[in-house]
């Protein structure tokens, strides 16, 4: 999509720009997981870089000498790119901050330590309904702030954090507006493009992102999309569509369906929820990620509230079908899949699971194409009213 081109170019230049920043003395902080507040990294005068690259088969395999085969391919990829020497940022990172709320990422962080990479862990208790666990995550965020101060030698002031909180809230507001355009009968932006747009926002300065999002919104707000009003409307649920892993989303839309919303956990901004402005900015960062939004898959309890949210999305976005995008060997997601399948069956909403190992050869794609074709064909028929 042409109107995304500026942001795409900027994102593709991010590693080069970080390299220059590094030469000028700016600290480069990589991070894994949405529980790590990017805005705090900026407030420390450092430059963040989100690790969520995937969609290629070799990186997950590159770590098998050391790691468990049944770790999901996204977690394995983060170390795999580095091991293969095709990760431009990690070798220059001054710190890698990893959110610790599930085992795949937790062991990946340890593996990075074994590779002598500078890792700092941010623990997120899964039993989030207990008040004292909020304090634990809060203390972990404070400890992250102290670590940033140590690495950057800059004081992370409340003022700087508030500055970035406001910027991020502005960014979220614009992303919401763009996403809301997809409620229309013929969405002006495809799901694949929205996912890419969301990714680009991680790899450019927030001020520039905001400027571009304003432009994109103005361009899109009165436009019609290419797929037409009859295209089945798809909700994608899953752990993550990694940066670079666009083949499946693309295929869905090539086959004539429109992805009109995504509920994803990693590598995707949780733009529906602003960071609350509290007296202590760290409290606001905590609330947005841990308390205000539906819980992530691995928190406990989670699936009841997540399902309620899905049901709301189905209504709000007039969803015809739901696709569950699952990473191979992601065992907790596999459990939730069965629960969601059961509920969607009760609601008579067609549901399809697509599992990825990041293997997209023609041989691997053929059965997937067939499944997607049949599924979307059923949705089209239903939409025409030929099946009750």
């Amino acid at each position: 999509m042409e109107i995304l081109e500026n942001l795409r170019k900027e994102a593709s230049e991010r590693a080069i720009k970080l390299s220059k920043d590094k030469q000028e003395g700016t600290r480069i902080i990589e991070y894994v997981g949405n529980f790590v507040p990017e805005e705090m990294i900026y407030a420390a005068g450092a430059k963040p870089y989100m690790m969520c690259r995937g969609g290629e088969p070799e990186p997950p395999d590159a770590v098998l000498e050391d790691m468990l085969r049944f770790t999901n391919p996204l977690a394995r990829s983060q170390c795999g790119f580095y091991k293969l020497g095709i990760d431009p940022v990690t070798p220059m990172a001054d710190l890698i901050i990893a959110s610790q709320h599930e085992c795949h990422v937790a062991r990946m962080a340890e593996y990075m330590e074994l590779l002598n990479l500078p890792v700092h862990k941010v623990g997120v208790p899964c039993d989030w309904k207990r008040d004292f666990t909020h304090e634990y995550y809060y203390d972990q965020l404070v400890s992250m702030k102290e670590k940033l101060e140590e690495v950057t030698t800059n004081k992370v002031t409340d003022e700087a954090m508030f500055k970035y909180i406001h910027l991020y809230n502005e960014m979220y507001d614009l992303l919401r507006k763009i996403s809301d355009l997809r409620k229309s009968e013929n969405p002006p932006i495809s799901g694949t493009d929205f996912i890419k747009l969301n990714h680009y926002t991680f790899f450019a300065e927030p001020e520039y992102v905001i400027e571009q999002l304003k432009f994109i919104y103005e361009e899109l707000k009165d436009k019609e999309g290419n797929l037409g009003k009859d295209a089945p409307r798809i909700l994608v649920l899953g752990h993550s569509v990694a940066v670079g892993d666009y083949i499946v989303a693309n295929k869905i839309e090539e086959l004539g369906a429109a992805i009109v919303y995504e509920m994803l956990e990693e590598g995707f901004r949780w733009y529906q929820w602003d960071i609350p402005i509290e007296k202590d900015p760290v409290r606001g960062m905590l609330r947005q990620r841990y308390l205000d939004k539906p819980p992530v898959n691995n928190l406990e309890p989670a699936w009841g509230e997540r399902m309620e949210y899905v049901e709301q999305l189905i209504k709000d976005y007039d969803i015809d079908g739901v696709i569950w995008y699952q990473l191979l060997y992601d065992e907790i997601w596999d459990l939730e899949y069965s629960c969601v399948a059961k509920r969607l069956d009760e609601l008579n909403v067609p549901f399809l699971r697509v599992e990825t190992s990041y293997e997209y050869t023609r041989e691997a794609m053929l059965p997937l194409n067939t499944r997607l074709e049949s599924y979307i064909s059923v949705l089209k028929t239903r939409k025409k009213g030929e099946i009750a």
């Binding site: 000498e65 050391d66 790691m67 468990l68 085969r69 049944f70 770790t71 610790q100 709320h101 599930e102 085992c103 795949h104 937790a106 062991r107 340890e110 593996y111 330590e113 074994l114 890792v119 700092h120 862990k121 941010v122 623990g123 997120v124 208790p125 899964c126 039993d127 207990r130 004292f132 634990y136 203390d139 972990q140 691995n298 406990e300 309890p301 989670a302 699936w303 009841g304 060997y329 992601d330 065992e331 907790i332 596999d334 459990l335 939730e336 899949y337 069965s338 629960c339 399948a341 059961k342 509920r343 599992e355």
Partner: protein, 474 residues
């Protein structure tokens, strides 16, 4: 006079005299409830158990008897529930003392159990017939290809089979993997909306160079988790667990542990080694692993007998292989698949120490805390399951240097995204530190279907050949 195969089984597991006659109808009923046919009982009694377990020792047979009694008790769960007994379940890895304390406080008004582990003992370890329960779970939604934990499949399988009723509460400890506690949420959403859970968790966020148990903040956080969980459980079951119950539970635990520790040390230091690894893991490890609603009286009796028998065997020079045979250590011998042990023995190598069998030096240090929950939390954080891999390698190295096996085998936990995740790397690291050749076996701890005996035979044979060749060249 033995009249049926059911009675023959009871004789094998040393349930004798009047008690046997009393237990027999209950055992027949229990077999039906567990889905074991007469032929299954015959196979276990005549083939599986004699081939894979040290039935030459009365002590071991008594311990199998204790596990059988526990299993029979479990098949009455529906009856207990109907009679108003509170059912408190738990899952691995939890501290058993907590549940024992609940039992001590509630006596006959409460049933404490880890039903999945209990059934793994019987259906897999003694009958080699757990596949039925795993398959039920897979058909019910735990997708085969996602590599779920077989113990968790067992939990779902026995619930789906109707053997296990809804508990009043399942206190689930999610201190290691994610799946153990998420299974409760899964059961609630899929099958049983009344399945109530209290969850205890802590993130895996120890920074490199730090030891979790030395971090007071972490100890206190986990202690709060434990205390709060206990309060929630108490509220559900309607009675309090006093400090004296916790203290008594600890006392009982320490006594069993002491005997188990003695048995392990005697056996591992003896040459020839009298007992194999899976037996040692089971007899010494089980009291640390799961609570017994029937109590530990029978178990302790078996342990005492086995200890005496082992001393005699050592004095007589009796062992599983001749004196001087090479030994192999494990991270954690899969006790529920005793044929793994047997394959090593058949290839002339003695299965010896598991890292989980003996405490590390730090675990023997006195606690820095007096509050029972803080003590408990500190104790937990001293164990190898929650610590990071850097600390854990030190633990493995310490134990390998102490017992000096000829080789070390990690693995068997390919489904566990926490415990098993970095074993390949850690095994190599241990080899570097100790010079002991280390291997990694991708295999399952509980489920014999995925990596069958035949599938592992060649790999184990090769490892044994390397170990023996190395011994010869030395």
């Amino acid at each position: 006079m033995i009249s049926t195969i059911y009675e023959e089984f009871l004789e094998l597991v040393a349930i004798e005299g009047e008690e046997r006659q009393k237990v027999l109808p209950e055992w027949i009923q229990a077999c039906k409830a567990m889905g074991f046919s007469e032929e299954d009982v015959r196979y276990a009694t005549h083939e599986w158990i004699p081939k894979n377990h040290h039935i030459e020792y009365l002590g071991l047979r008594k311990i199998l008897g204790a596990l059988t009694r526990e299993c029979i008790d479990h098949t009455k769960l529906h009856e207990y529930k109907k009679n108003g007994v509170k059912l408190v379940y738990g899952v691995l890895p939890a501290q058993t003392t907590t549940y024992t304390a609940i039992k001590m406080a509630g006596k006959d008004k409460v049933f404490v159990s880890f039903p999945d582990f209990n059934m793994m003992n019987m259906a897999q370890c003694l009958f080699n017939k757990a596949g039925r329960f795993f398959e039920l779970a897979e058909q019910g939604g735990m997708t085969y290809g996602a590599r779920h934990c077989a113990l968790n499949k067992m939990r779902v399988g026995i619930r789906l089979s109707g053997m296990v009723p809804t508990p009043d509460v399942d206190w689930a400890w999610g201190l290691v993997c994610d799946e153990a506690t998420k299974i409760d949420e899964y059961i609630t959403h899929m099958y049983d909306k009344d399945w109530k859970t209290v969850t205890t968790r802590i993130p895996h966020d120890v920074q490199i160079g730090e030891s979790g148990y030395q971090d007071e903040y972490r100890v206190k956080f986990l202690a709060t988790e434990l205390r709060r969980s206990m309060e929630e459980v108490e509220e559900i079951i309607g009675f309090k667990v006093k400090d004296e119950h916790v203290a008594d539970a600890f006392k009982q635990y320490e006594s069993v542990l002491k005997m188990g520790g003695q048995l392990v040390n005697l056996s591992l230091m003896a040459d020839p080694q009298p007992l194999c690894s899976s037996t040692l893991q089971m007899v010494a490890g089980h009291p640390k692993t799961f609570p017994m609603n029937t109590g530990f009286e029978y178990y302790n009796d078996g342990l005492r007998t086995l200890l005496d028998e082992t001393k005699k065997a050592i004095a007589d020079g009796v062992g599983i292989l001749p004196k001087g045979s090479p030994k192999v250590g494990f991270y954690f011998i899969p006790w529920a698949l005793p044929w793994v042990d047997r394959l090593f023995i058949e290839n002339g190598v003695v299965p010896s120490i598991s890292m989980t069998m003996i405490p590390a030096k730090r675990q023997l240090e006195p606690s820095m805390y007096t509050d029972p929950y803080e003590k408990s939390a500190e104790g937990w954080l001293k164990g190898i399951f929650t610590m990071g891999c850097h600390e854990e390698v030190k633990d493995w190295t310490e134990k390998i240097e102490q017992f000096k096996p000829d080789a070390f085998v990690a693995g068997f936990l390919d489904y566990d995204r926490w415990i098993g995740a970095l074993h390949k790397n850690m095994a190599r690291d241990v080899e570097k530190q100790t010079g002991v050749p280390s291997f990694y076996l991708e295999a399952d701890f509980y489920d014999g279907r995925d990596y069958s005996m035949e599938a592992l035979r060649t790999r184990i044979e090769s490892i044994c050949q390397i170990i023996r060749a190395k011994r010869l060249s030395a």
